[in-house]
Amino acid sequence: MSGAVIGQQRPTIGEALRRIRLEAATYHGVWSWIATVDHKRIGLMYGATAFVFFLVGGVEALIIRLQLARPDASLVDPDQFNRLFTMHGTTMVFLVVMPLSAAFFNLLVPLMIGARDVAFPRLNAFSYWVFLTGGLFMTASFFTGNPAGAFFEGHLGAPDGGWFGYAPLTSTQFSQGTGIDFWAFGLLILGVSSMAGGFNFIVTIINMRAPGMTLFRMPVFVWMTLATSFLIIFAMPIITVALFQLLFDRLFGGVFFSVADGGTPLLWQHMFWLFGHPEVYILILPAMGIVSEILPTFSRKPLFGYPFVVFSGLAIAFMSWGVWAHHMYTTGLGTTANAAFGVATILISVPTGIKIFNWLGTMWGGSIKINTPLLFSVGFIAMFTIGGLTGVMHSMVPSDYQQQDTYFVVAHFHQVLVGGALFGLFGGIYYWFPKFSGRLLNEKWGQLHFWTMFVGFNLTFQPMMILGLLGMPRRISSYSDGLGWGFWNMMATAGAFLIAFSVVAFIVNVVVSMRSRERVGGDPWDGRTLEWAIPSPPPAYNFATIPTVKALDDFWNTKYVENEAGIPVPVVADGANGDDEEDAGHGIHLPSPSVLPLIAALGPVFIATGFIYHGNPWLLPLIPVGAVTTLVGLYGWALEPVTE
């Protein structure tokens, strides 16, 4: 007999959980979000949360820009400045671009490969909740532990070591307070989230494809998700080791990075960039995937050179493992290492170039509908080209001795991460917004958003290139007059506020569009991939019947056939419209909602807090509390029925 009843409260907790599951399964009310395991809802929550963190990181950026707008400014003191730029970098990389990409993976991958959900829906919910708690934990560091004074006296407690936290600046000797501890634990927690997501999407893509969806019939975005996920699961463990080492040094007196004990700070740099360079491609590959979806749709042409775009993406992912030391040219690695990594860096521009040429080839000869998603994609190509070319210039090692750690580098990676990743992601938001809301985003506001952002972006970051060449080092909290930097900095600050304005335009756009009564059907853009074959917003079960895929761009092929001249002709029998499938999904078994992933996700934050404040007898017990919380969550998760 399975499970004899032990104790009287047992049915009560079980019953309460069951009631939550049943209530959540109705897709109404707050529990249906908290307990959801639906990839679409998790994707939306990922996106919304990341956007909030984007605003936080943006405000940090604006304060930084205000401080630097004029020489000798004192809006913030150097200590506050250091904490602000550290959190700006950390937030934008780990709490904005990565989770925004994760939002798109969640929303799109199952739909694009014809699956009802990801392979492990609860693990997916767990990823999200760990991301949320980890992000809040990291941000909460502002309010804690600056040895100089309290938050309300103007002393921020956030980490102050820069986003790559070079040892030994992060040691207790040089960074008192708890900022770095929050940073390291925060990254560890966020790493759990990313890795869980990475595993999940690899299994989903390898195993959950609809019949006939061979690897080379997958949309490029799915390919890029696969590449990104592999980078995540191989890169994250390395930074995990480094962060543990840092924490052992800080909390328990270890000597990993202690020079006096024979340790070498360069180990940290190696470990960080072994992770950090693949991370750069973790940030950019999803955006490349998005652009590869948008351009064909609005050009009404298939992606030019599909296998080459796929393989160049995989080549980039592979080569990203061989270039990490180009962040370390000036650390004295030696001639051989500098030459080898310099040449490897030069070579990685080849697959990147292939992508750009293929995107141009896609648009060439097409019938290009100029609207916001397309503009963002075209903006992506233009801005990313600048990012790529400046990257090649960094690979010229001797001249990089001049540019290393200057604003030229700052300009370069913002060119890649804002002009590249963020433009691509915004394009994706405009493109797939109707799929998940049933409404188009307003085109006028959208164009305002794009053009202000485009101009603001160039106004902000191109002057930074000049600043770098004029010898302005990065991460300085102020500079004196007479170096010729004032004008360019003022320009950059003006640009930053223009970007801020564009983000406001975007928010207004979302609000205005959500209030609009107009609805769109399943396929507003005449799309090519499977997600457009189903209604907008998609039903919980995605596909009433799992499609059988016969070709690349399968949905397009159900709508059009090519005549002898290669011109598409509409298929006469128009049975493929997704709207026909409504109310067809009765009797499909979906996994039950569950709050247990959320409970399991609460533990790590407790444990981390307990360790950071281990000298405090009231907070120390948080370690066992957190451990038990996570264990209860995981065991309940393992024992709870999957469906009912």
Partner: protein, 254 residues
């Protein structure tokens, strides 16, 4: 949005971007302008940068022109037919895989050449200087025997003086004395040479020279804490004779 507006706006944006870039290169003001070198190393680094910059600008202009041209020419007009479905072209793919390799080889050769050249040890007859970086200031020690005082301590000054047209061989030390630990700093005099990190626990070396007399400003380039922005120093390059008398004067005062 009509095509004309797209074209105008894109054109304006590009013009602004290009004008800014060119203006920046043209404005040779500023004490730390890497485009206005005062020594051979910095000049070589600028020349290499320019060697990469011009092809980059040409490629960028090519891509931008292509983007704008394509978007304008192939924009969807009312009553457009469906375009021909082109899936790819293998010859083109091979071409644009191979072509960049030539261009990259063109910059790879001087790159490796430069790495080897700048990476070699300083000449024996160079002026040997130890740069000491610590939170948040600098000291410069003249290691050659003739600049030691009676006790054998090297001449130590807070700002560097060097003779023009003589190679300066630098070794970099973090922390006031070798046993004390400090964070990572980076020694950088933009007009004289690119930077080299000052790593605690190991000694990095570099060399440079000044071909023109003058005062060059330098600054820590690796984030090193609260005082990072004010961790500055100057390098004064003077005629050799003047340098010798300066050194004597300093030694007498030490």
């Amino acid at each position: 949005m009509n095509a004309r507006r797209v074209r105008t706006l894109t054109g304006v944006a590009l013009a602004v971007a290009l004008a800014t870039l060119l203006a920046g290169c043209g404005a040779f003001g500023g004490d730390q302008n890497t485009f206005n070198p005062g020594g051979d190393v910095a000049e070589r680094q600028r020349d290499l940068f320019l060697l990469g910059l011009w092809p980059a600008i040409v490629i960028l202009m090519g891509v931008l022109t292509a983007v704008v041209y394509i978007v304008v020419r192939f924009r969807r007009r009312e009553g457009d037919e469906m375009p021909k479905q082109v899936h790819g072209n293998n010859r083109l793919e091979i071409a644009w895989t191979i072509a960049p390799l030539f261009l990259l080889a063109f910059i790879a050769v001087p790159t490796v050449d430069g790495i080897i050249d700048l990476g070699r040890a300083a000449d024996d007859d160079a002026l040997h200087v130890r740069v000491v970086a610590f939170q948040w200031d600098w000291r410069f020690q003249y290691l050659d025997a003739e600049y030691a005082d009676a006790d054998g301590n090297p001449l130590t000054v807070p700002d560097l003086y060097i003779p023009v047209d003589r190679q300066i061989g630098v070794e970099l030390q973090a922390g006031l004395n070798a046993a004390a630990t400090d964070v990572i700093h980076s020694f950088w005099v933009p007009k004289l040479a690119g930077k080299q990190d000052v790593m605690p626990g190991r000694t990095n070396r570099m060399w440079f020279n000044a071909t023109e007399a003058g005062v060059y400003s330098g600054q820590c380039a690796e984030f090193c804490g609260i005082g990072h922005a004010v961790m500055k120093f100057t390098v004064t390059a003077v005629e050799p004779a003047e340098f010798e008398s300066w050194a004597e004067e300093q030694l007498a005062g030490q």
